[in-house]
């Protein structure tokens, strides 16, 4: 059966499904059982599965990552959550020196199944240390897997795949996706890690995207359709390992590429993909591929400083038209939201 669910509800569904299926799945994180329940994603878990398997934790990001390794060595599958990715930076030793290398450095004798949910913030002046998208850091480390779903359906299927994967997986959620609605099957299903999805088909240009930027890309493509421009949109879903087969297939068809990133464009996942395509599909390219990420400065705070800071549907349309050498005034094609620093004018929740 299909149900309409938000992205946050889909995460909650995956947690219930995994904990029902396997008694060795446990969940912890700061605030996991507080009144707000991590933006609703952990609602009802403690009541259903008890305080032994669902517990609040001390503000000790590094140690609690190591605890997940230790639990993993004795058969447990931990799902840890942090309300902001930025907080998790305190845990780099346990993540990089420990979890990522355990299977390798002991000759493949033990694996550590850990899922770490990280939430990227945006807007309402969260600024330099509450809105960082550092997924490329994690993708740089061999031994880690990194997934960043966009749709509620993929969120559930990928979270289940992450929890039952034998390796440490960073499961990265964008706060602006939590309220996104979509159809989510009730049953236990898996979306494979390492497979991108060609979600819109077109022959003119390839747009590769991830997480919340895929929503902006879809808005841009709607406008471009009005101009009879057809884009191929690939939602990466996993950024480590990257599904190059799907990207190659598309670029061979279109010969043009724009890669969107939700992080800084310097040394980003997008620049990595552009480098790979330039090295491997150079002869297929009709024009220089492009990286579209955040400016290479910290994220500012003030309402005025954040204006036009993030690339959006309008900047995507502008770039596509430039690549296709089409001159067109597009200003009248966009309706401006009242406030740029919220996911929609309907939004009145805490961040």
């Amino acid at each position: 059966m299909l149900k309409n669910k938000t992205f946050a509800e889909a995460i909650n569904d995956a947690l219930f499904t995994s904990m029902k299926k396997d008694k060795k799945v446990i969940c912890y994180g700061l605030g996991i059982d507080d009144p707000k329940r991590i933006f609703g994603t952990t609602k009802g878990l403690k009541e259903k599965f008890g305080p032994k398997r669902v517990f609040d934790m001390p503000t000790s990001e590094n140690a609690m990552t190591g605890v997940a390794i230790g639990l993993g060595l004795n058969g447990y599958k931990s799902v840890m959550v942090h309300q902001r990715l930025d907080f998790f930076l305190l845990a780099m030793d346990q993540l990089v020196n420990g979890a990522a290398k355990w299977h390798y450095m002991f000759g493949g004798q033990k694996n550590v199944p850990i899922t770490i949910r990280l939430i990227i913030g945006r807007g309402w002046g969260q600024g330099p240390t509450h809105s960082q998208s550092l997924h490329s850091w994690f993708a740089h480390i061999p031994g880690l897997k990194v997934v960043m779903p966009t749709s509620p359906k993929d969120a559930k299927g990928l979270l289940l795949s992450s929890i039952f994967d034998k390796n440490p997986v960073l499961f990265i959620e964008h706060r602006w996706l939590h309220n996104l609605e979509g159809n989510v099957p009730d049953k236990d299903y898996r979306v494979p890690i390492g497979k991108a999805k060609n979600i819109i088909s077109g022959k003119d240009i390839t747009i590769v995207s991830m997480s919340y930027m895929t929503i902006e890309a879809m808005r841009a493509i709607k406008i471009l359709n009005k101009l009879k421009i057809k884009c191929d949109l690939i939602d990466l879903r996993t950024i480590s390992p990257i599904d190059y087969d799907t990207i190659y297939k598309s670029v061979k068809k279109t010969g043009k590429l724009i890669v969107l990133d939700i992080g800084n464009s310097n040394v980003s996942v997008a620049s990595e993909i552009v480098a790979n395509i330039s090295q491997n599909l150079f002869s297929y390219l009709h024009c220089a591929p492009e990286v579209m990420g955040l400016p290479n400065v910290p994220v500012p705070t003030s309402f005025n400083l954040t204006k036009d800071f993030y690339p959006d549907s309008k900047s995507i349309v502008t770039s596509v038209l430039k690549k296709l050498k089409i001159k067109q005034n597009i200003d009248n094609l966009f309706t401006k939201q009242k406030f740029h620093d919220v996911p929609g004018d309907w939004f009145n929740e805490p961040y």
Partner: protein, 322 residues
Amino acid sequence: MNKKIKIDLLKKMQLIRLVEETIAFKYSENKMRCPTHLYIGQEAIAAGVSCGLKKNDFVVSTHRSHGHYLAKGGNLKKMIAELYGKSTGCSKGYGGSMHLIDLSVNFMGSTAIVGNSMPIGVGLGLSSKLDNTKDISCIYFGDGCIEEGIFHEVINFSAQKKLPILFVCENNLYSVYSPLKNRQPKKRSISNMVNSMGIESYEESGNDVEKVYNLSNQAIKKIRSTGKPIFLEFSTYRLREHCGPNYDNHIGYRGIKEFNLWKKKDPLFLFEEKLIKNKEITHKFKDEIILEINKKIMKAFKFAESSPFPKQIDAYKNTYAK
């Protein structure tokens, strides 16, 4: 303490000492091509603690882990082969001296970043509690670890959750070449601090193996019955250089006077002397133990040297579990 335990303690200490001395002797052949931190001078702690542990109890350790591994019953041949980087090594050549593992005795792994293995031992302790077993988790670490943030995280969580963990702090006064007095407040005792953080703590000489055994065995029994953690701080001294086979008293970070003082407190010699003086063992018996262990060691080195290297292509395996 009955005689059997005394002989066990002596054998464990002697095994560690002779293995380490053989490594030191052969290190200059340049066949053991990995950073190696010898445990000589600290043997009483691993031997004393391990005699109270059961096979199912978990152990995690640090870069200086040969003693902890051997005392827990870790396979000697596989350890030496690991130092030689061979495919028959305990980590198949992927880890070296600083990454030992022997799952057959629940020696779960040693890691090489200060404080790194502590929370992993805590996770193992939590798994015992969740599984309702009586297995405890023993975590070895040094005095340098106290200065890491993770130390406080680990002590706090273990106290809050009441986990079955034996914390064993080996205070050998140096973090590489930096003395304790440059790193920690002069009059603050580590064990007193941990006690006030909510974990029952004790301080003892780490060079008297009987004292180490008595205290840790008592602690282990208590942890098993109460499920709560206990913290032990043992004072000791590493006799060789921080990393490598030699002595490093000449480079100027510690005085020869200090070294000689600790040399007189060599835990193995002290214990042997006491057993002989009390007529619990004879010189002949002592020599027989040495002979027997040396035979085992020679076999282990032969095994390591004659074992094949892992294939070059193996470097590209094992990044992910399948």
